[in-house]
Symmetry: C2
Subunit: 372 residues, 2 copies
């Protein structure tokens, strides 16, 4: 049996947690709060405390690399299948008169919080006090990730996948979630329905379709009290990850790449596919195109970077976001390019400069000799 | 000025080195010797001591990743260019009445030692006592490496690139080497001649030709007292390395792969090439084909392995080689497949089993859930 932590446990542990720097104190426009920077004493990472209100962290969902064996090993009852969206996870909650979006780490995201009125109807927070909307924010114009789903062509979109309640770990039952999503017209992740464990072929059909469309994958949620979950990604989603990370090759742990290669190989094998010429070309290109861009950047400007842009409703939030990113990235340097009004929003553009690859290319291109 | 270590220094240090396990004691068919398992107090790794005779380790040659900048940064005088052969480095010396081949680590290689009469004329060891022949052993049938030069179609060949003397660090002068190689009909690495530093375009032409033929690269040796050296590899040689290592993905440090990708990207950029569709396909295939093989092996036999084979003149040497490999590989398991006589040689076949990838595939294919 998992140990259940209540909001009272969290509030009792808070002073000790703050002293041991397991929770940090933060402030968002005068709203003071605390957030758990790591799992600690059964309190999940990302748990945030606003006065007496506890917003529990979003739990980790395990990944299986073999679809059929994974489903059979982990599910004891029928399960729901939902599309996994390639974005960043937020929990949206009403705190006093503010509605805020928390990142996975429990930090109030100035970007998502700013854009909430563009992303979803907010009525639910008036009618259902204490609700937490769990969703993925995805699209080309986001401040965190280089990759995004192919079906979000501009800006960002929100995809809701769970509901929680302030003060309680765990999720709303599936049927109740469906009712509330419909009642409040919340934008949902695509849902594929309810499956029996024996029905693997239907799921395989689904995942191959997502793979061909370069979508990310599926999250499975058991239709039972224990609400057991697992995720499984498509082959192409691994190539997409590699492509997005290639010009950042030296900052990431190299396992980032080898793990994705292994996932891709297992995907192909399980589905009876052999790597086509096109897939090999996509994979090789995912590595080489990003590195080519990095070397070109270095030659031209003596730094390797990626440019991000995102839109804000309020200028102040754009500035808060930039400051947050600057403070949060110890190794990666954040430099503002531009902040100007455009079509009703403030458009922020900034670069993420990769110092390790920048320094390495500087050395290597000047002819440095290495001994390996 | 580099500190020069003499054979007397090595002999004086030997008791202390043995006590601190910097040198290990070995025995090859009754011939007792000691070898330095790492660089220590200016004694290079691989230095071997037979009684009073010291065979110095082969020094590290630095690698440049930018050809033109590297040559300009490191060479002060014209230099010789020789082909870099994709094999393993041996130093061949006469010790008493035995002629032995030492690996880079200073261990007597039972395989190379056994095959010496097939690989080169041995007359030089009668006429030039105290000579050490430094060479690369390369070909499909070698016990150490999965990759080999495309121009060695069967078995192995020897390619001599340096001469040393017992008791002395450093190499014979280039012209003297040429004279001795010719006098004793020693099989040489391909030599491309002597170049001025300004003559980069000729070298670039050479390296692009080697790249297109999937050869490994060039070693540059300054034509001067200090005999400064550097190596530079072709773009395709990186793809070849990745292909040879892919089914061993989880045993190698992941930097093995990211470093080679970076070398390839720099090769393309410096030579004004963009990655062609064929190259991308080669690179993607280098990763995926090996992993595919690994997963297939696992499904069929519940282990991931590579089969090696090599020929011996004497059965005893095959057995010594296998025992050496078994003892030397802590993580990788060596299992004999076959040892039988064939066309005048003893043909040894053995598998190198990769336990990490084997265990990982066992877990993942049974549906194990991972949290990342």
């Amino acid at each position: 049996m998992p140990i259940t932590v209540t909001d009272q446990t969290v509030l009792q542990q808070l002073p000790a947690a703050l002293e041991r720097k397991k929770f940090l104190t933060k402030d968002f426009k005068g709203l003071e709060y605390y957030h758990a920077i790591d799992d600690w004493k059964h309190i999940p990472r990302g748990t945030a405390v606003f006065g007496e209100q506890v917003v529990f962290g979003y739990p980790h969902i395990g990944r299986v690399l073999a679809l059929e064996a994974g489903l059979k090993a982990h599910f004891q009852a029928p399960f729901w299948a939902e599309e996994k969206i390639n974005g960043f996870n937020v929990r949206i909650a009403r705190i006093g008169d503010k509605i805020v979006a928390l990142t996975r780490g429990g930090f109030i995201c100035p970007f998502t919080t700013d854009r909430l009125p563009d992303l979803m109807p907010l009525e639910i927070f008036q009618k259902e006090p204490g609700i937490i909307v769990c969703a993925e924010v995805a699209g080309p114009d986001n401040p965190y990730l280089e990759s995004y789903p192919p079906f979000v062509k501009t800006d960002i979109q929100l995809f809701v996948f769970d509901l929680m309640a302030v003060g309680k770990p765990g999720f709303f039952p599936y049927e109740e979630k469906l009712t509330l999503l419909e009642k409040y017209s919340l934008p949902s992740v695509p849902r594929f329905g309810r499956f029996e464990i024996e029905n693997v072929e239907a799921i395989r059909h689904l995942i191959l379709d997502l793979h061909q469309k370069w979508h990310e994958g599926i999250v499975f949620k058991e239709d039972s009290e224990r609400d057991h979950r697992a995720k499984y990604v498509t082959g192409n989603s691994n190539i997409d990850d590699i492509r997005a990370a290639a010009d950042n090759l030296m900052e990431l742990p190299p396992e980032y790449f080898t793990n994705r290669l292994l996932r891709l190989a297992l995907f192909l094998e399980e589905n009876g596919l052999t790597a086509s010429a096109t897939m090999k070309q996509d994979l090789g290109g995912a590595f080489l195109d990003g590195l080519h861009r990095a070397v070109e950047h270095y030659r031209r400007e003596h730094r390797v970077y990626t440019t991000f842009r995102c839109r804000f409703r309020e200028k102040e939030n754009a500035e808060l976001m930039l400051n947050h990113l600057k403070r949060a990235s110890r190794r990666i340097k954040i430099v503002q390019r531009d902040l100007h009004q455009e079509e009703g929003h403030w458009l922020l553009e900034f670069d993420r400069i990769y110092p390790h690859l920048t320094g390495m290319l500087g050395d290597l291109l000047s002819g440095r000799m290495i001994f390996d």
